[in-house]
Symmetry: C2
Subunit: 431 residues, 2 copies
């Protein structure tokens, strides 16, 4: 086949700080998917993009090219509007679990096509798979039927959406080119736009446990994604949220399901509840069903959200009443002095949970349903010497030492009365 461009010319264009033309972008993404542009060529281009950036026009075109590499879903036949949420990933981030049924309560369908976890942040599917019988894989017809019937689906994204992104992501992972904002934004947004949601709320996390440690970078990513969504006709808004401390009191698969059920039962940690409600309000607004925060909170208190959750789990073969798995072993991490918990680092807790077996290093690895970290004391709370600050859970006791090592220096007890700053959970809103 006669190719209209040469990969080296395309690489040189970006290397020399010029904008790629739309035709160059369309070609290079397609030719990479076809294997005509080699992995080593795409990695050089990815590094040039990382270091030299891309214009808004280039990012939009790159995203469109990724979408064009695969199939598009269509929810326009549904009787209700759709809204989706994407989180850039954090420690203890189980928000999708209570959020999807909560939004469904108000007549907005939530097609939450999710992934599995890699590294220190857990994956939504891994969490739900700790529920006996629950299955992540649905056909497109099953997704549509469940959206119409239950109003919420959390399932695996099919391989048909943006296959170019899948290939490129695997390459970026081994070539130090993950941290390129244009590529992160187009990776996320190509899948969300191809999925066909009408509205999208982005939860862009910032802090030690997040992918973006730096607020300015997180804000740039959020802005870029909001522009991409808007340009593609998806009503998109982003919340910048804090990920310096783990969300809630659990990090781990079954542990987080249990906490989510507490939230759906009207309880649960305040930060998880607050963020769930804030995102639900944004999703309902973006979907054209503006709803007061108090009404949304009421649906957590009066059992409507729990009903939607039970139907959503049951529709995918899960037993909402089943006992959740518990790890075979646990150990406690105790305070060595009395005072106030001054610090609890999200990254340290995330790595500990990962090492305990809640996460995976390679995408082929299995995860332990019961493994993870339970947090008994949160920053600002009092603690007495010898009191358990955390409980570590794992099926494999040889993992405890490395998990404890990850936590070393990641939490700190200060003398009572030491003021502990609290960051609000929602730092900013970009629309």
């Amino acid at each position: 086949m006669n190719e209209p461009f040469d990969a080296v010319d395309v690489i040189r264009t970006k290397r020399d700080r010029a904008d790629l033309s739309s035709a160059q972008i369309d070609w290079v993404v397609d030719a990479y998917t076809r294997g005509v542009v080699a992995e080593e060529q795409m990695s050089a281009l990815a590094m040039a993009i990382l270091l030299n950036g891309m214009s808004r026009v280039e990012i939009a075109r790159w995203t469109q090219a990724m979408i064009a590499s695969g199939e598009r879903m269509d929810f326009s036949g549904l009787s209700r509007p759709t809204a989706d949420k994407h989180s850039t990933g954090g420690v203890g981030d189980k928000i999708t679990l209570p959020l999807a049924p909560l939004v469904a309560v108000f007549g907005v369908a939530v097609p939450q096509l999710s992934g599995r976890g890699l590294g220190h942040t857990g994956g939504t599917l891994d969490k739900l798979e700790s529920i006996p019988g629950w299955r992540a894989g649905l056909s497109n017809d099953e997704i549509l039927a469940q959206l119409e019937d239950v109003g919420a689906v959390i399932c695996a994204a099919g391989a048909g959406l943006a296959p170019a992104d899948k290939k490129l992501y695997a390459l970026r992972d081994v070539t130090g080119t993950v941290e390129a904002i244009p590529l992160i934004a187009s990776s996320i947004m190509s899948k969300k736009i191809a999925e066909g949601t009408g509205a999208l709320v982005l939860d862009v996390k910032v802090g030690s446990g997040a992918f973006m440690k730096d607020a300015a970078q997180a804000r740039e990513l959020a802005r870029t994604m909001v522009e991409l969504g808007t340009d593609a006709g998806v009503r998109t808004v982003a919340l910048l949220t804090d990920m310096s401390v783990p969300l809630g009191r659990t990090a781990g698969n079954a542990l987080e399901v249990r906490e989510s059920v507490e939230v759906l039962d009207g309880g649960g940690p305040a930060d998880v509840v607050d963020l769930t409600v804030a995102l639900a309000v944004e999703m309902l607004d973006a979907a054209g069903r503006p709803t007061a925060e108090s009404e949304v909170r009421a649906a957590l208190q009066d059992g409507r959200a729990m009903d939607a959750w039970r139907r959503m789990i049951a529709a995918q073969g899960g037993d909402p009443d089943a006992e959740l798995p518990v790890a075979k072993h646990n150990e406690q991490v105790r305070a060595d002095s009395t005072g106030v918990l001054a610090e609890l680092d999200a990254y340290a807790v995330g790595v500990a949970a990962w090492r305990l077996g809640a996460g995976r290093s390679r995408k082929e690895d299995p995860v332990q349903a019961g493994a993870g970290v339970e947090i008994h004391v949160r920053p600002g709370e009092q603690v007495v010497a010898g009191q358990p600050v955390m409980t570590l859970h794992s099926d494999t006791p040889e993992r405890f030492d490395r998990a404890r090592a990850a936590l070393d220096g990641g939490w700190r007890v200060a003398p009572s009365g030491t003021p502990v700053a609290r960051r609000p959970i929602v730092l900013d809103r970009i629309h």
Copy 2:
């Protein structure tokens, strides 16, 4: 095997504009040679080096690591000092051919380990292979014996010198990362240092027909290479020379051998003679045998250089008296007006010669011994309408049209009396 570093961490270090440690450099070059660092990882690193640069310390270590990837030659057992020359490549650059025997006349041995051409600049070995019987491949023992006996060897560099460079160069060629000064400098210098020459003169070309179009970049490359050589104990000096106009009156393999023999016979174009003499003076000086320019010129006039040439060619199986191949077909490019030749672009002539069959596009391609461009009129010389400005030679007449297209706009006749600026051949000296 347990690797001391992770490729992604090394890539990230350079990506984030930090210096690579010596241990990181040693590891990444060695691990790449072993295949542990993948091609797509090295290409991302090469792009990061191209865009973020390297310190003098990093470049020196990178060069040492490339040298350590292969064998080193040793000329210390020779009865005479050694001096080598490297040119960054230009159109009509046949200087090595008269230069090596000329320097040998004065008791300095010249081990000229060369390569084949790729693209619009010809390769020294391709040129010499147009001499019937001449062979490029010599064993290390043959090289040493010929240096002792004749004093000059032009032959193929063995695959044993800096194999990491060979692998990396092939990768850079397809990933848009050729134009990184640290990588160009370390590529050239690793081979020259591993070759074991005591002195080295670099001919760094600048202008349309050169790899470096820009004088500032060429100067930076020259300075970097002089530092690398000096740091490695090789007496190194660089001349910055003009490559906006082809060197001499020929570009092509046998055509350039014929012109070189004219120079060795005391004739030849002034620019070729001047540059040959200038480089010989530098090589003799760097080798500790300083010789006046007039003495060097005398050796071209009195037949001593020609004698050395004949012995050098004969030692490698070539017949110095054999008829050189002539292309089967030729066509003339004629002036369409009367006046003065105001311009003759080196790049245009180089591409024309290449398209006529003198060069290759891929390293597996054969070259035509007789193909190329003969230049009858040089810039500043008078020309009459209809007079031949150039003769094109090729065995394959279908190539003439594309060669003519390459020359279009590459030369220009101005009204008689128009002043034509002449650049000196040697623009600067860096030591």
